[in-house]
Symmetry: C2
Subunit: 113 residues, 2 copies
Amino acid sequence: MSRLPGDPPDYFRVHVFICTNRRPDDNKRGSCAGRGSEALREHMKDAQKKLGLKDVRINSAGCLDRCGKGPVMVIYPEGIWYSFNSVADLDEILETHIVGGGRVERLMLAPNS
Amino acid sequence: MSRLPGDPPDYFRVHVFICTNRRPDDNKRGSCAGRGSEALREHMKDAQKKLGLKDVRINSAGCLDRCGKGPVMVIYPEGIWYSFNSVADLDEILETHIVGGGRVERLMLAPNS
């Protein structure tokens, strides 16, 4: 969907949504929280604050419906999706994508995955 | 932040994030869940399904940091923010914005509110 003339400017320059959905431990689909996404999100928030990025919001979200690739995040307004598993992954997304405006191609989700 | 050449297409045509953050009942700031956002989100999901909008995701989110105007939502990738209080508000956002591509100006948040 497109922006229209007269729309207000983006409220956050970068708005990150990290899935922190948790399913029961015996659920066969697993869940992002079950794979550690809550603690990883806390790391990313702390790292963002240390970098002084005030125009960035690291949000929690319910199930983003791409569970097989979890933990996952989506970064708006550009709409880029990443899978991540470690603090090193998140630091690279912060430095390369959020600060640098580039992409961490090795972590990006394929369009239909 | 801008999209880059080679970025994948949007995974969801419209990705709605509704704050369902809940603070304790005696918290003076209140919260979106304390003002009914969870049930309102369920209504919007049901209405979306009835309309057959398969390229739309109505997500829950943690605190979106615009608490004074809650319940609030943000719609990406266009980055438009709304405050809402009723199923009628949500039906209007669905019909006018998500189906029609327009804006419900009476519910839009002012840029710095």
